[in-house]
Amino acid sequence: MPGPGFRAPAFGRPRNDGLCQRGLPHLLTTYLRRHTPFWISILAGIAIWEIAGRSTSAAFMVPFSETVRQLWLFMWSREFIEQFLDSAELFLTGFVLALVVGAPLGLLFARVRALRVGVEPYIMILYATPMVALIPFILSMMGFGFAPKVLVVFLFAVFPVLYNTVEGARSIKPELIEVAKSYRSSEWALWREVMLPYTLPFIMTGVRQSIGRALVGMIAAEFFLSATGLGQLIMGASQNFDTAGVFASIFLIGLIGVGLMRLGLKIEQHFARWRQ
């Protein structure tokens, strides 16, 4: 498939010439050709949702139009903005903590072989354990504050970062470290100039995976610890049998999830160029 062709050089490339000369209308048609199936599929999905919602009971399913209307009403209420910011604070705190702890720890494990060999199986075990199972313990030991919720998000998010960082740092060519050593590089310089740059793409893969898991952790913490934020919006609506509210909040969280996923992919791809 030919690329968008914006960078078309003027000479000797007849394939791209047409695009430059025809300009805007041609761009429009390429856009349409590429994105029409997408929009058709989205519109068809909305239509099916709408019809299904209208032909069933309102307690069971709510049509798309009603969901969007509900969401719109939500979005301008003061309560919503507070809840949203609450969730965002929880997500960011837990996620940043996971990154700040996971990446350096991963580098350390990769650098100190005895340490890595020692902890590796335990990291694998923790990675495969469903972290949600720890929520009741966290609840009864730490109560309902902000800290236990951050801990839940952190536990969900830290292992992908840690795991990918260790894997990345392990794959550093030993020659690189040997050369740095033979130039009498200090340990700090070695980390900063060799290990970190080499490992960054792998860390970003971990970041992408963590984003999704941190979001799950955030919702789980808001469901099962103290009910706040977006989780509380869904729970409240569900307990009041407000199906429209449930649909609106799930739809919103879905949009946030897709947005974060795309952001994660963008970040990963941006850094993946470093990996040859």
């Binding site: 199936p37 997408f38 058709i40 599929s41 989205i42 068809a44 999905g45 307690a59 069971f60 072989r113 005895a114 340490l115 060999v117 020692g118 902890v119 590796e120 199986p121 335990y122 075990i125 495969a128 354990t129 469903p130 972290m131 949600v132 199972a133 720890l134 929520i135 009741p136 313990f137 609840l139 009864s140 030991m141 992908p160 030993p174 893969t205 995976q209 999704g212 979001l215 799950v216 955030m218 919702i219 789980a220 469901f223 099962f224 989780g231 869904i234 729970m235 609506a237 569900s238 049998f241 449930v246 649909f247 909040s249 799930i250 969280i253 879905g254 999830g257 897709v258 974060l260 996923m261």
Partner: protein, 276 residues
């Protein structure tokens, strides 16, 4: 000692890979692992004894609780209920996920129509659908099953479609030149060829299904390991509850090992990186 001789004698065969090969096959991975394990358990025991209230689980109390929990009929019943639900949900997700995944990978029309929805649902934190499912199916095992299927199916679809797309072109050409029907091409060539992807998808799906089951049991108070953990930790039987966590961890790790072994044993031709 004998391991060391093996390493030395095999080393000259592939000098380029020497450091890595020596590292993975080096003797004494057991020693550091044991030391780390003992250190982790010791630190846990010490910290809990020094700082936490008496009911908090520590290794000694977990070990003490282990025999009577594992023979407790209530615990066995809970385990059976959860594992049966996970197996049933995984089975259903596997059938539908494989069919949809194959279609998604091999049919352009189908891909354009539903790709965005699959991605969108995959990005949706699976536990947000719980309140909605509980409205639909009630506070029962059916909701747990639906949650497990929802948690599992999209990673299978995505992996199988990746696999179906990466079938070598020669295979398809041979199939066409022998006038193989579309259906037999799909199940005779595309499916076996994407088997490793399917297994990778199942591995991911099993982890997610387990999380889905536990979260559903927390949320719905349906009998199972998740509910067992919740109930015991609420009544301050943390050691008993922790045995449940150990069981979940063992199940997660066991599945990981099983899939890894199957891939190596039956598909030695295949190597691939992880997918988040």
């Amino acid at each position: 000692m004998s391991e060391q001789t093996v390493t030395v004698s095999s080393a000259p065969a592939q000098p380029a890979a020497k450091p890595a090969a020596r590292e993975t096959r080096a003797p004494g991975t057991f020693g550091p692992r044991l030391v780390t394990g003992v250190a982790i358990l010791g630190a846990w025991e010490f910290v809990v004894r020094a700082l936490a209230p008496a009911y908090v689980a520590k290794p000694s109390t977990v070990v003490m609780a282990f025999p009577h929990v594992i023979t407790d009929p209530a615990f066995l019943k809970a385990t059976g209920a959860t594992l049966a639900a996970v197996a049933e949900g995984l089975g259903i997700a596997l059938v539908f996920g494989t069919i949809i995944g194959l279609l998604l990978g091999r049919s352009v029309m189908f891909e354009r129509a539903i790709r965005h929805y699959v991605n969108g649902f995959y990005a949706l934190p699976m536990i947000v659908v719980l309140p909605l499912f509980s409205l639909w199916f009630g506070y029962s095992g059916a909701t747990r099953l639906a949650t497990i299927i929802f948690a599992a199916v999209f990673s299978i679809i995505l992996n199988v479609s990746d696999g179906a797309r990466s079938v070598p072109r020669e295979y398809m050409e041979v199939a066409r030149s022998f006038r193989s029907s579309r259906l037999s091409t799909l199940f005779g060539i595309v499916l076996p060829s994407s088997m490793p992807y399917l297994l990778a998808g199942i591995r991911l799906a099993a982890g997610r299904a387990l999380i889905g089951a536990v979260v559903a049991e927390f949320f719905l108070s349906v009998g199972g390991v998740g509910y067992y953990i919740l109930y015991n930790s609420r009544s301050y039987h943390h050691a008993e509850a922790f045995v449940g966590v150990l069981l979940l961890a063992a199940f997660g790790v066991g599945f990981e090992v099983l899939v890894g072994w199957t891939t190596q044993r039956f598909m030695p031709w295949y190597r691939r990186g992880d997918r988040g």
